[in-house]
Homo-oligomer: 460 residues x 2
Amino acid sequence: MSYFDAASAAPLHPVARQALQASLDEGWADPARLYREGRRARLLLDAAREAAAEAVGCRPDELVFNSSGTRAVHSGVAGALAGRRRVGRHLIVSAVEHSSVLHSAEVFETEGGTVTRVAVDRTGTVAPASYAEALRPDTALACLQSANHEVGTEQPVAAVADVCRAAGVPLLVDAAQSLGWGRVAGDWSLLTASAHKWGGPSGVGLLVVRKGVRFAPQGPTDERESGRAAGFENLPAIVAAAASLRAVRAEAAEEAVRLRELTDRIRVRVPELVGDVEVVGDPVRRLPGIVTFSCLYVDGETLLHELDRAGFSVSSGSSCTSSTLTPSHVLRAMGVLSEGNVRVSLPLGTPAEDVDRFLEVLPGTVSAVRDKLGAPVSAPATAVRAESLVVDSLGKRCPIPVIELAKVIGDVPVGGTVRVLSDDEAARLDIPAWCEMRGQEYVGEEPADHGSAYVVRRLS
Amino acid sequence: MSYFDAASAAPLHPVARQALQASLDEGWADPARLYREGRRARLLLDAAREAAAEAVGCRPDELVFNSSGTRAVHSGVAGALAGRRRVGRHLIVSAVEHSSVLHSAEVFETEGGTVTRVAVDRTGTVAPASYAEALRPDTALACLQSANHEVGTEQPVAAVADVCRAAGVPLLVDAAQSLGWGRVAGDWSLLTASAHKWGGPSGVGLLVVRKGVRFAPQGPTDERESGRAAGFENLPAIVAAAASLRAVRAEAAEEAVRLRELTDRIRVRVPELVGDVEVVGDPVRRLPGIVTFSCLYVDGETLLHELDRAGFSVSSGSSCTSSTLTPSHVLRAMGVLSEGNVRVSLPLGTPAEDVDRFLEVLPGTVSAVRDKLGAPVSAPATAVRAESLVVDSLGKRCPIPVIELAKVIGDVPVGGTVRVLSDDEAARLDIPAWCEMRGQEYVGEEPADHGSAYVVRRLS
């Protein structure tokens, strides 16, 4: 069994387990009480805050614990926006933020706010210049992740923080994916993180608000966590979160080198072993443990299922693996293929043999899925029949529309076009991505009776 | 060491500990994922939901887990109010609700809503007729605790639920203090609870929304917990919460009898052992484990400190034990004495000897505190001096104003008055309460140059 989905949730670190068990005895009482059990709980809470602040690189009184990374983002964004309500009602986010940031932005829009979503390039990276362009006199807050959760691309946080600071706008950094690896560089204003991403327990998020940043907590509050996280503190878990962050950091430098070598192996070998694959995300500026690739003519859900049967737990941004049947917003923003998408995110300590075994198993698994779907094995070589063809893929789901396109592209002459009729949301992303991969021209999308017509011109 | 503050946080139940430890291995993965670790987590989550729903007496799909009882109340109240926005913007709460309900009500007021706070009698009980009177055509929601957290008084939830249902208004029941003892009777619409009150871990709250109740979750949501509790599920703790609720329920009937006998012992013995004491809360309709009393002429903070030194951890609703220097809103709403207030809340399994030892220690501890403050030992018997006297207690904190009143009341003739000048918030509650206890007449409060003048007429 190889669990390769640490970016969703990391297995509990042994130090987290020890700290949790120890503090179940010492840390269950109310830290607001003055009797000895309460004072003991308060000491544990204070020590955890000190340790977490040291790891973040902030003052202890700038850091509060709450119940999850999502909660930290929700209350961090809402509090920062409310704190600068007088400045204006404009928010900047990148197009590839975690859903908790994007959901916060959507709520802000329903309340009358305006949101600018900064685009990314094909590696998933934002340009600091794009943030500079997006800034307005009424910008209340900008948000940028430290690194992307789906493709591992690291963002230029320090440069964006400088751009924001020059404009007097606070930057909130969602550091959920990177905090275990190190402090977030740069002069950011707010930071959020989630313990279960670094091997801490679930149920603990961090929200850091630098001194001097205007912040007005929203919703009902109480006297806990400086009025920024209501409800009884989840103390044993907080203690375990802080202890494991420290432990993970101690291993980080060495483990980063090792995991980076393993994910590099995947980046290099997968395209060699499996045809029609696109490895996505920045090849250099990226997290050590994450690598993501997409396989043409493959149904992501079936692929995940087959990999699970073979003993590998991975996740996917393919449309067929999401409840909404839309591809991952990250892959969409990057403009890369979403079909047959696989994210491998290695937990600390992943043995090299597990990765090698994955590379052994993957090619056969992908071929089996492609065979089942009748995917084209190589470029088709049938006689040219017509200047333009129409492929009716209505009612068919990813990856069928792309498979049918690939099957007929050889049937039109160079310069001829294929119109793919599809009502599958994934086709909007995957047909242009296929063109990019195959060196064909994506002409555009046209409205059709049902769904859309995606027009492709054969160039080679 | 005797921990007598289970109403704040109960020590972890052994079953909770076992379940937590077991599910640290099995339940750390994302239950939304399809690979085996995710499926295993999903099974645990589903089983915990079934068990908790069975204990509550609701359908599993009516119950979601979130991060605390406070969070459950905040999102339950906000969601129910928003779901019935079209009906109106009126909310009913009792005056003795937990602060999480009252804070929700305050936020609702700042957003333009109207709140009716239903008064309680001297035992802390609401009258169903008061809810009936408070209901209006634009009432969106009513809230009532199942039992009070400070004095243990049980509320007539079933009767109030009937009154509300007849008016078509949903009733939200905060069952934080009672759920470990049994299901909440009656036809309520929403229910909240907190695992660490019944011996489960911290970090887990319950929110139940009956089918058919209009509910619109507020703030950013995600796909977790039916869109009613955003953020990664705190799964090991959820498993432990459900398992311990079941375990606690299995012991409840027997333990209720035992603890009720122990708290009855305190209710009876404390007034016999300590002079000038008021035991508060309903003597019959009450939780088994909670008993609260107030000692005249005693500074609550010092008393708690001395009891802690003697090995007893209790809490207090006295003003000097709160960060705001105001007495507990519960004691205030009941109109009972707040000075020298002590809440004893016994955890499951409290040995009878611990209670006996408490009764041995208490009298000496109270006398020592009274001696230090120069409190009157018995009714003063000095010669009558004047028809009316003024006591200047400005700048002095509870219990000094009451002590000074008690010292001079014998100096005026029957029918004469004492005016106590005080700027201590607690005096507003404690001087009338003293009059009630001593059979003197509280004439009223008058504005003064600084603070207020509290006028008392000697009747005996």
